[in-house]
Assembly symmetry: D2
Homo-oligomer: 471 residues x 4
């Protein structure tokens, strides 16, 4: 099938054909294209636009092609794209009549429809894997509700928390990522078919019917918009970029925590590599690669936005270059979710080290300040200053927070506010003990085992409901 026979008299230059061909990534829309052609042909026949018999022949061949798979097609750059290859296949089987399937349809609306059909499935797959990740996090959190660790700000010890509480922070980020995709799905799930090249057609096609046959929630309401908009792709890739960003933060923590210096976790051998020259190494390569690939997703997004900028209406061939970024981003993100989930779920948590760090560097200091406020009703800023000065003393004299007692506190408080606080030693000790400390942070969203338990129950139910809804 050579479109050029009419207007253009010379064949396209071979290099140019290769340069402009979309075949390399068209396999992603092979099944969608068949589905789209079948629905359109069925509609054409039902509306009496083409002959019922012809339609029947076309659909039969298309269904056969669907069974045979893409290998049945002749795919070389001279064919331009999958749409032409499929048409050629049908033509070879039933002759010129095949051409009727393109009545009132163009590659412009067809490719837009194919992309949306294929993307809808891919979004569902990513959504499922996100829910599975949350499930894994919930399960791990269940085991670590009492596993003490330091929470960091500025990568400095801040306050004491539990490993479970930290894992649920990841889970909540993924929950938003999941919901973002759910919203995006609505904007993908609309049908451009019937827009033809850009202004619909003079054939009396039935857009409601193809919309129903293809399982879209509605058709797109302006044909020029329908063939030239790719915001649904940019939005999807943004969502994937955000997922990747969240994964990269987890990877960063896996890398940090598995250093000799932190030693909070040990990665499973299956997710580590060693060195060709340094036999003692155990490297977090999976986490590093995943961290790096985050940049690739960002770049997919930038490419798409960059291509769209200043592009006049309606279809321009530039739009073709957007598509590979979509498939690329979906593949990268899917792989990242699965591998990071598996890497994380196989780490060995070093809970002694977690506790050791929690008591060695003043992470419970805020609670001492809070206790002073509660007991003595002095403003927090003042308590903060007292505790700050106290830490300086402790460091200078080589002590630990566990050595802090009432008389030491009083010494400092006299310096700062000119009077003693006379706190009970027991109050001081309880404020500074990590387990006690965590239990007292019993506010919704907080690390106390009770709150964490409530939170993970809610997540569990959420995941169950959503997985159900995706079926």
């Amino acid at each position: 099938m050579n479109l050029r026979g009419g207007r253009l008299q010379k064949k396209m230059d071979e290099e140019a054909a290769k340069f402009t061909s979309s075949l390399e990534s068209d396999h992603h829309i092979f099944y969608a294209d068949i589905k789209c052609n079948i629905a359109h042909t069925r509609m054409l026949a039902r509306e009496g636009i083409i002959d019922e018999k012809t339609a029947h022949k076309i659909i039969k061949v298309l269904e056969e092609l669907g069974k045979e798979g893409i290998k049945a097609l002749k795919l070389d750059p001279s064919v331009e794209d999958i749409h032409m290859a499929i048409e050629e296949y049908v033509t070879e089987k039933i002759g010129e009549e095949a051409g009727f399937m393109h009545t009132g349809k163009s590659r412009n609306d067809q490719v837009a429809t194919d992309l949306r059909l294929a993307l809808k499935e891919k979004i569902r797959e990513i959504q499922k894997e996100l829910l599975n990740f949350i499930k894994v996090l919930v399960r791990m959190a269940e085991d670590h509700k009492e596993t003490i660790m330091v929470g960091y700000t500025h990568l400095q010890h801040a306050q004491v928390t539990t490993f479970a509480h930290h894992l649920l922070a990841y889970a909540h980020a993924f929950k938003r990522d999941y919901e973002r995709l759910k919203d995006t799905y609505k904007r993908v799930d609309v049908n451009p078919l019937g827009s033809a090249a850009l202004t619909t057609t003079s054939f009396p096609i039935n857009r409601k019917l193809t919309t129903r046959l293809l399982g879209f929630s509605d058709y797109m309401e302006n044909s020029m918009d329908a063939v030239s908009s790719r915001d649904f792709i940019a939005e999807t890739i943004f969502d994937l970029s955000m997922i990747a960003a969240n994964l990269s933060r987890i990877c960063e923590e896996m890398i940090l925590w598995s250093t000799y210096e932190f030693r909070l976790i040990e990665l499973a051998d299956e997710f580590s590599s060693t060195s060709s020259i340094m036999p003692q190494k155990k490297n977090p390569d999976v986490a590093e690669i995943a961290r790096a690939r985050t940049s690739n997703l960002y770049s997919n997004l930038m490419s798409v936005l960059g291509i769209l900028k200043g592009l006049p209406y309606t279809y321009n061939r530039d739009l073709q270059e957007i598509t590979p970024h979509l498939w690329d981003a979906l593949g990268t993100c899917y792989d990242m979710i699965c591998i990071v989930r598996r890497m994380l779920s196989t780490v060995k948590v070093n809970s002694e080290r977690g506790f050791e760090l929690a008591v060695s560097n003043f992470a419970t200091a805020t609670d001492l300040a809070d206790a002073i406020v509660m007991e003595k009703k002095i403003p927090f800023r003042t308590a903060h200053q007292i505790v700050g000065r106290l830490i300086n003393h402790v460091i200078k004299e080589g002590l630990s927070l566990l050595d802090v007692n009432s008389s030491l506190v009083d010494k400092v408080s006299e310096e700062i506010i000119g009077e003693k606080l006379e706190l009970d030693d027991d109050i001081i000790r309880r404020a500074l003990d990590p387990h006690e400390n965590v239990k007292r942070r019993n506010v919704p969203g907080g690390p106390s085992p009770r709150m964490v338990e409530a939170s993970l129950k809610k997540l569990e139910a959420y995941v169950k409901d959503e997985l159900e809804s995706l079926k």
Copy 2:
């Protein structure tokens, strides 16, 4: 108020203080910070955590500050940020007691809360301007339902449409932009307050109450997530980038259409500039600047994503650098929407030129192919080839499409399929006339005046409902 008195013994280096200060963009959260402090203080008192009287004093001073405005604060880099400046203000008015307002609260949850409070309003503003833009487009479309113009693909003449139909393509893109912001809003509208530094607090605070007082729909369910996530900012800036991309496409068309070569529109003098050296120029500067600024929005997005990549939990000072991109992006996008809308609404449409182009370069050729299919029941691809060859003849012989008649069609069809088509001359003429042509594309989403009328009525109702809902 100097936080450093405790732990750190030397003042921050002056350059370092300047380098790390967020004051330059903190004015955006001035009112939100006051609101947040008031709600928190009110809650503390109601839960009996601080003294009712103290709370009363603090709130009164905060309310006064709200009335006086940001100029009442001492803002120099040594103050670090707006939170410290406001605390200092309250402290100056009521003394040390001011410190009680920070009980069970940290700058980490406070800044996250402030950002969300301020952003919620800004999103609403952008949403309103988008709806106003759609309104303008609908109004313009009403006037141009019969204004013929060429629709382009690959910037080549493709098919005939109307100016109204084209304007509605813009409108539908903005409708999606609007809905995207609506979805994003849900994820902004959740309350991090109560998360404190990262693990909530041992004070028995009431997060439901502050959530209600601040008008959030819910509180965030994990405190570590609450203080360290900025996906709501990335998502907002993505939405704005998408709006900008859509605006840039309109601007590109304004620039093209106002060239001497296209002459489809004339920009109003108020939105053009001239040259310092070439007195004949009338330059579309507004459209050019808006087109260019699209890149700035993309870059805001990239900065935010770049900062988030691989950032360990929880708060890191890097997060502060995200915020200016948000305000910048909101400002740029808001300005772009308003100015492009006004530029577009003041153009003079050159409808004669629209018609002239529509008849001069075969834009109605597809319809002739369609007519051949309808009348003669031959496959579309064959009809396509006949018309392609026909155009070559017409060009070679210096004719126009209006010169095409039955015998010319037959001459070509004999070459291609070996037989005459014997079409009625009248059918040929009707297929090629732009007005007739447009009328026949009477499919939902198409350019026929009837379909366009239906479409703009729906948009009008949509805008009305949504504007109502934003009140």
Copy 3:
């Protein structure tokens, strides 16, 4: 060869192995890796670090492998990378002795060396194609020194120029692109080999010798820097991005100029496509695709910079993810240069249309203003205002600039400055005639045929010299 036998007890997870493998892009460094191994082995033997005979065996096998090509290797993800695959190949041929070739060497310095070796050749290829492009432009310019066209600012008619002058603007941009690569080459052409994993080695290796054997200009002076820096890749991709940006500007002009509205050029059939539904179309697909791919190059750059941000020393697996962007960018850019050059060199220039536009829209108006300044010694701004007003008159009365005469000028000048200018009609006519106009812009860098001739002679000589130097 399994590195894991020592430290790690379980095999890497299959998905993880696939996820972290670099094999997909390692074919780019196959020959470089052989070359690098040979040079290193030769040096080890010459310095007496390994046995001369062992070295001889290793080198012989490596040379054979070079002849057989990459297909001789077993490449599956379990092999990790090309370095291991090559070592395994040598081991199979000569047994355990193969291991001696890695004495005092690591994959970290080896991959850095391979990349630089392979990149040096690729940069030369791009440089040659740039020079070829300039050659084509010079040849075309030779033919079009008198072909009048309008020069645009803001896409509005600005002043008259020639097609040759415009083509040389492209040439000068490419000349800078070429020189930028030349500068980059210097920073690529340094040898990291001998840095081993990160801190060199205790074997007494001879870095000067391997530097000479591999043809580098010098070795890198700090081993930690040598294995962890990838700025040479970022810089190369920036250079390629800049080339792409320049190509995209040319493509944009090809797209604009081949519209029905501009009609300044006609693309060759071989570099155009038509439509599946609109038989009259002749689409500039090559230019559109090239324009879009520019974004891909930008994204390659962003990925690399994104990966490098905040990466601690020294080697991290993230660096591996940088490399595919390099090969990708080189391939995309190379293809773009070649195809745009061929597309441009086959366009048909419509010189009548060029002239027609030059006389129809006041593009020579500046020269009238200049003539007034020269003749009457009044300030340019005043002359500018007179000509501006004059154009308004001409438009309002439906005249053309060729109708302008002395009395019309005087009428306007009286309005503006209150007195007549009494210019000679002949001076007016000469200022407004495009050919005359161009000839008078006889300043270095200007469009006068004499200046253009001088300029293209210089470029011709430059290209010749540089092509010579690349041999």
Copy 4:
């Protein structure tokens, strides 16, 4: 001065004027613009194009303005830009005659000239600060040639090195950054003046003279290229981005090393902050902010490239939007260099901790493998396996590397290769001692104090020479 008096009849819309004004960033080119006007006017007079007396008056006023500074100008959006403001100033002082300074000149060539003039100075400033940074690193390295620390790959302990060696890795990255700017400078240092709007002028201007007067090395050879190319800006910002990337890697290490877990350095109080709620914190805010701002520089680059993509020749107002990114990037980068240098130069290095880490986690293991190869002439891969297995034993039995002796080695070697190695205990100990280990890596580029000393001497001389050349 209102340019609009001629062609456009209505004033620009106020919002549009604000939207399109460049005044906000024009202060960067104030002095350059004066310089440019003076040189041009001087040339006009010398070539007899304008009256000597007029020129004298204009120059005198411009010189006065230079002394008064930018505050002497009326800068409101209605003025459009600095060029018009300066012209207006001159006009107010000497009347209409001021207009003569624009003879044969346009804002298009003038702004391009101004940008290059101002940028040349800014590049020099950045270059100087880079040299100063290298100086600081050399000075610090001088003090730390024997300060043992672990070198990392994959953030895992790899091999032992010295702090000095590590600092010189930074220095060499900066050296390349410096040289890159030097190359860029050549492409900035060319003169566009005389190109006028786009096609030079019919006035017989002398471009060589203005080139000399302005201190450029040459003039640009094609006027259309000269007014529409901004690659010199993109290239500069790329260079700055690369500097930022290198700085961000240093910052990342400062952040890591100052954690409680690493404890390799302590930041000076002057470059740290504390927390409003956690009194024990000492946060590396400066390093965090600098790390984050790296993304801003990348975004500046992306904006510029994004704006250039697909922009037709010649001047388009989009180009104006490029400029603020340049000033922004220069400012950000300059600040980052200075502050990171000062932060780094004030850290306290914890050399005991460096040594402690060096002996605790097998970082010298490679050397044991090397020693086995040297002594026993067995292939490295085999030695690597033996040492790997050895480490497993050591870990399992809770020993340290310092406990390794000949009999333990033999036990493992029998497992792997079936025979004992019978290494001298002394050889084993020497291989494993960090100081000994470092001394033996006496290869150019390596960490041995002798090599480091040689390297820093070379750098010292380099910096001295280059600082001299910048004077």
